[in-house]
Amino acid sequence: MTITAEPRHGLGARLAALTRVVDLGQGREDPDLLTEATQLIIRAGNRLKLSPDHTVVALAGGTGSGKSSLFNAISGLELSPTGVRRPTTARTHACVWGLEGAAPLLDWLQIQWRHRFSRSSALDKDDGQLHGLILMDLPDHDSIRALTDTEADRLITAADLIVWVLDPQKYADASTHRRYVTELAGHDAVTVFALNQADKLTPEEVEECLDDLRALLAREGVEHPRVVATSAVTGGGIVDLKAELAESVSARRAGYLRLEADLDRLMLRLAKDMPAMLKVEPTIDPARRAGLTDALCDAVGSPAVGEALENVHGTRSIDYVGWPWGRWAARFRGDPLKHLKLGDVKEEIRSLVADSVRAQPAEVDNAVQALSDGLTQGMPEPWQDSVRDAARSRSGQLPKVLTDELAEIAPPLDRVPAWWRLAKVWQYLLVLLFVAGLGLTGAIVAYGVFQAGEPPVELLGDVAALPWVLLMMVSVLGVGLLSAIASRNFVVMAAGRERDRLEREMRRRVASVAQDLVIEPVERELTRYNDYFAALETSRR
């Protein structure tokens, strides 16, 4: 039991892994191969579910090689009609040694009821060793009839053990070798070659023929061919063939061996060009993440936004916190643009900077592309594409999401902080004070110096107060200038802080958007890549 238990377990695990391979490889590997794999999984599932005590043996071969004669010779009954007309057999006949439990298997093989025969082992004492054998006589695969009939093909695929019935005329036919024997190389354990009609040759010729056949099979990759010379007419070699069959039947392993061989063969093709890198890092390393974030930040222009914020704020703050006298002086210089009749360009420039941050789609694309290019180095091409597609899967939304996300935090460039207004009020207060001082000075000069009349208030005639008033006016100007300079410094400092905060916040948000829209899909794909090749490895062994 231990002998049978081990391959069964191994086969089950491998088939389970193959199911995963089919699942994960969808859209990434050759669809034909995956279809084939699916078919194998289904076939294996069916076969393993059905009677493990029976061994399905197919007698296959070209028309006229004597499949039916051999079938009758082995079963000892005239069950399958033989004849000289070619092709003779059109429907598969089956003979069962030990009927119990075989019916579902025969149903699965789609053998018609009237073509099923049974040999109860009680009747044949010498055939006890064949108990559990289901012998099928297939139609040929090489006649003009077979061009439109795939029955032989189907049953050759489904059988546990295949006996190729060859004859001296046809043993080297391309139709047998190219389509089947070469394709089934590696199935040595579940293939027997019977050189039938040996009675037509002399013993020496039989030997020569067998040698030639062995050499031919060796060239085709059948390493240890089991070759038996038989003759359905004289009965020669039938015993040897029966012994070969009995060996496989009593071991009850042919079914597993067949499926294993099929699986091996499929895996050879599926794992034809395994990449050097079977396992990739399933998470994206910090350096790459940072690279992506940087690139996306560049795409929204975050450093430039920060700089612009700082500069624009600095410039605009002059209107509020600047020294009003300086602004008024500048206005006197005149504006050449007025002559261009462009309307209020300055106002327009002011309004245009009121816009928010926007991501540039092309640069977003490039950033994503660069990430996937870096990650997929050394991967097979379909997987390179699939990782790239995963990275791009949501990149259509990316520019918009970035824009929306960052618009929330980027303060409008024309924002005016409250203290700017306070500073402006203060500056105008100072201006008022200066104007008041000017008035006072005028009054003092008028009343005190030129004695223009009786001053309404005593102070206005007090010439001695004049220096003080003048001093106050100078101080007012000085205070205005100084507070403008101080405010300006505050603005710059605040803008610098604001810029730092903004850049940090933008970066944080860009990183989180990138995580959701790029990194996660890519990591899912990388995990899939790892799973696929892990499953492939498992199903190979």
């Binding site: 028309t63 030639d212 300055k346 420039i349 540039q360």
Partner: protein
């Protein structure tokens, strides 16, 4: 010397036959011979009579000269048993006599039918057209087409061109069929000596073996027919696709040669090709199959081919077990009837023991008779040869246009693949045009830099350069850099997408397309694309600055008041050009840069510079794309360019051939 071995074997046969024929008078013998032929041939009678086809001729010539010829022939046959060696040479002499007597009428028969110059011309034209055919793309069916091309060419060289230039004799009878059907055995038996190896190993024959009357040997060795094959004495190792063994035997009648071919269905696939090449050169096909093989698909494939070619066909069903002869032959006949080949002449050979690679002679009596009839009856032979030749020429009617049609598919596919490249890249170009027009480029850094530039007052300052010398060059540089990298990324994204699209489109084209698409590196642009794009964009920017400098003649009224920094103005111009204020770009409330520029430069001048700058950009991108497309075109050309005129030449050649016939 082979003949020396031969004679003792035929000795008993001769003795057995002679007594039957001896009693008749020499003059009547020809008549009796004729009678025998029409009925069932008496067993073994043919071997002794075979070297005397002149009898037949004589009989055709109203018997008179036969009186003279007959005694000598009789003498020959009678003497043979006594001294083999001497008589061998006598036999040879006899054969040459035969040759002489044959040659004269043959020439007379064939010369009137001499080939017209037009036909020769048409054939060489056809040959040229087929040779010149280059089927480079692996579309579905390309392999078949290439095979068919090679086959047509080989048939023209091996058969058609030599055949139309010469008489109908000797006729080449090609024996073909499945492996193990007994082709070599049949040929050996008919030749009455082992010319082709037989055995139980399958496949047995690898090198074709031609066997003919010694009189014809020289002609076949000269190699007008099958001129591409090397004549050898012994078959070499393995399948000999380039050689043919030529052997002679006097037991074969004059004017017909048998060619034993490799099989059509064994594991050695080269054999199939050789067999088909031999069949292409055949005047008559002898198709050999066996009782266990007559339903095989490859055999019927060959019969189908014979039917299509209109070749003169004879079917031999060999290895028929005596007890099932009736059933098998009936069944086979019915199958042939159903297939429309019921009229074809058939011979049945029983399954018997093969000794020394030969069947008992009585098994092939019918066939031998048929051969000798063919040998002596020129008219019949000529008809057969003509029929096959006509069949071949008729087959060109379908085969050559089929080649032409395939070529046309190739040409069409190539055009499709080419248009895929163009579509992908013109799509990319349109994409770039769009995004350099609708303002979508003015996002991200470009936008921020522009805002920085405009909002910080530099924009105004550059326009008042007389007063503000200290405008921030770093800000202008940053805007310029941002514009450049924005343009670069738009272009490089477009190029990447275009490369991918070409490959995707190619993958959807069956056959050649996906194979081409699998070429490494085609899915992405060349490595230095970024560098070239950067250079291209930078030079375009320089060009724009230059344009603004030279063409942007400032309005006179403005020039008096404002002077400006060209560098900055070029940037403002670029921002405006890229669609600032259009579409979803910011500043939708009137495109400031345009208005500013219009004010500064005048509408006329602005329009002209814009047009020039845009077309210059398009031209530069076009150049860049040309370099990229070149790789795909190279890949396409590497696969082989089908010549479009070749199809026309093929049709023309086919037509000319029809006219010449």
């Amino acid at each position: 010397m082979k003949a020396a071995n031969q004679t003792p074997r035929s000795e008993p046969a001769d003795e057995a036959v002679m007594p039957e024929e001896e009693p008749e008078s020499p003059g009547e013998q020809t008549l009796s011979f004729r009678a025998i032929k029409e009925d069932e041939a008496p067993p073994d009678a043919d071997i002794s009579d075979e070297p005397d086809p002149s009898d037949e001729l004589a009989s055709a010539d109203n018997l008179d000269p036969s009186d003279e010829l007959d005694p000598s022939d009789e003498l020959d046959s009678a003497d043979e048993p006594d001294s083999a060696d001497d008589l061998d040479s006598a036999d040879d002499l006899d054969s040459f006599d035969d040759l002489d007597s044959f040659d004269a009428p043959e020439e007379e028969f064939d010369l009137p039918e001499q080939v017209s110059g037009a036909l020769t011309e048409a054939l060489s034209q056809l040959r040229e057209a087929v040779t010149g055919l280059h089927l480079g793309l692996d579309v579905p069916g390309a392999d078949e087409a290439r095979k068919s091309q090679a086959a047509v060419l080989a048939q023209l060289d091996d058969y058609v061109i030599p055949r139309v230039h010469m008489s109908t004799a000797p006729a080449l009878i090609v024996v073909a069929g499945s492996t193990g059907a007994g082709k070599s055995t049949l040929v050996n038996t008919l030749a009455a000596q082992t010319v082709s190896a037989t055995g139980v190993r399958r496949p047995t024959t690898g090198t074709p073996v031609l066997v003919c009357n010694p009189a014809d040997e020289g002609w076949f060795k000269k190699g007008t027919l099958l001129s591409g094959l090397e004549r050898v004495e012994e078959p070499g190792e393995g399948p000999g696709s380039g050689s043919i063994v030529v052997a002679s035997t006097k037991w074969l009648p004059h004017g017909v040669a048998l060619l034993d071919t490799p099989d059509i269905d064994s594991v050695v696939e080269e054999h199939h090709d050789i067999a088909h090449r031999m069949l292409d050169a055949a005047d008559l096909w002898v198709f050999v199959t066996s009782a266990s093989r007559y339903a095989d698909a490859p055999s019927w494939g060959l019969l189908k081919l014979a039917k299509e070619r209109g070749a003169r066909l004879v079917i031999v069903l060999s290895r028929v077990p005596a007890r099932s002869r009736e059933v098998v032959s009936k069944h086979f006949t019915r199958m042939l009837d159903e297939y429309g080949l019921g009229e074809v002449e058939r011979f049945i050979i029983n399954e018997t023991t093969v000794t020394n690679g030969r069947l008992p002679d009585e098994e092939v009596a019918d066939l031998r008779m048929w051969l000798s009839e063919l040998s002596v009856d020129e008219q019949r032979r000529a008809l057969a040869v003509q029929a096959t030749l006509n069949g071949v020429l008729n087959s060109f009617r379908a085969r050559v246009p089929a080649l032409a049609r395939h070529l046309e598919t190739q040409v069409a596919l190539r055009a499709d693949l080419r248009s895929d490249i163009d579509a992908a890249f013109s799509g990319a170009l349109a994409e770039i045009e769009e995004s350099t027009r609708d303002g979508s480029l003015l996002r991200g850094e470009v936008l921020a830099r522009w805002q920085d530039f405009a909002g910080s007052g530099d924009l105004m300052r550059t326009l008042q350069i007389r007063k503000a010398k200290n405008h921030g060059p770093e800000r202008i540089g940053a805007l310029r850099g941002a514009l450049r990298s924005g343009l670069e990324s738009v272009i490089s994204t477009a190029v990447h997408r275009a490369s991918e699209e070409v490959v995707t489109r190619w993958r959807q084209r069956a056959g050649a397309g996906d194979r081409l698409a699998a070429l490494p590196g085609l899915g992405r642009p060349e490595d230095d694309i970024d560098r070239r794009t950067a250079r291209m964009v930078a030079s375009w920017q320089d060009h724009v600055t230059e344009l603004v400098r030279t063409e942007g003649v400032t309005k006179r009224s403005v020039a008096r008041l404002v002077s400006f920094d060209v560098e900055s103005l070029a940037l403002i111009f670029t921002v405006g050009l890229l669609g600032y204020g259009t579409g979803d770009a910011p500043g939708g409330n009137g495109a400031l840069p345009q208005r500013l520029l219009r004010g500064l430069l005048g509408a006329e001048s602005l329009r002209s510079i814009s047009g020039k700058a845009r077309s210059d950009l398009r031209a530069r991108i076009g150049l860049l794309f040309d370099d990229e497309t070149l790789r795909y075109v190279d890949a396409l050309d590497g696969a082989g360019i089908p010549d479009e005129a070749a199809a026309t030449r093929l049709y023309q050649a086919t037509y000319n051939l029809e006219v010449a016939r």
